[in-house]
């Protein structure tokens, strides 16, 4: 399966990445993309900007392990994961996932699986610039719960 994993400070182009996944192919019936975007307000406070720190090396490897796991679970025909690092302002793209498959069920499931795992397992940390100074974003228990459901799905 074709897979692309990139960490970069520059912006990305979801359309170009998706086009590269499907170009010249007639076996792909479904493409699901997720784009995460920096918001001006989180949990009730204003956000002027955020800085994304990552663990170089481990971030790529960890994402690669999740992509391999997704490919093991679902019949996928292509995956793209791009995650930015550095300083971002509201409206900026943060990251994207694109999954191609023959049918929509696999494409949706794999995209959600990748997002849930990236949120809780990929070594990235967000620091927000708020009106009262800057602060590291706390992990959300909802994200842990979302990642947990895939483990349960495996056992069940």
């Amino acid at each position: 399966m074709a897979s692309t994993i990139r960490l970069q400070s520059e912006d990305f182009d979801v359309a170009a990445e998706t086009a590269a996944l499907t170009r010249g192919r007639v076996d792909i019936g479904a493409v699901v993309t997720f784009t995460g975007i920096c918001r001006a307000s989180e949990a009730g406070h204003d956000v002027a900007a955020m800085t994304l720190e990552h663990y170089p090396g481990m971030a790529e490897e960890e994402i690669g392990r999740h992509v391999a796991e997704a490919e093991r679970r679902w019949p996928l025909l292509g995956v793209v994961v791009i995650h930015r690092h550095g300083r971002l302002v509201p409206g900026d793209n943060i990251m994207m996932v694109a999954v191609a498959a023959a049918h929509r069920g696999a494409a949706f499931a794999a995209a959600e699986f990748l997002m849930d795992y990236l949120k809780t397992q990929a070594p990235f940390w967000k620091k927000e610039e708020r009106r009262d100074g800057s602060a590291w974003v706390a992990a959300k228990s909802a994200d842990d719960a979302a990642a947990e459901r895939w483990a349960k799905a495996l056992e069940g």
Binding site: Y55, T120, W125, A138
Partner: protein, 83 residues
Amino acid sequence: MRIVYFAWVRERIGKAEETVDLPAGVATIADLAGWLSGRGEEYAHAFADPKVVRAAIDRHHVKADAPIAGAREIAFFPPMTGG
């Protein structure tokens, strides 16, 4: 042994990485966190709530009881908030 720190663990300790010689008896991630905590106020602050600090050995997530023998690089960091 090379140790790397990220996010507020890095900020509290005041450095992104260091190489340390470990005394005998430091066998697990929990042992290492405990030993580091004794190295100064900045470390004690970083590891004040050891349950919150996550660890990786050679770029793989591990739990507190993971043995560190043979590790090339150990990382400490807060819960991840990417995506």
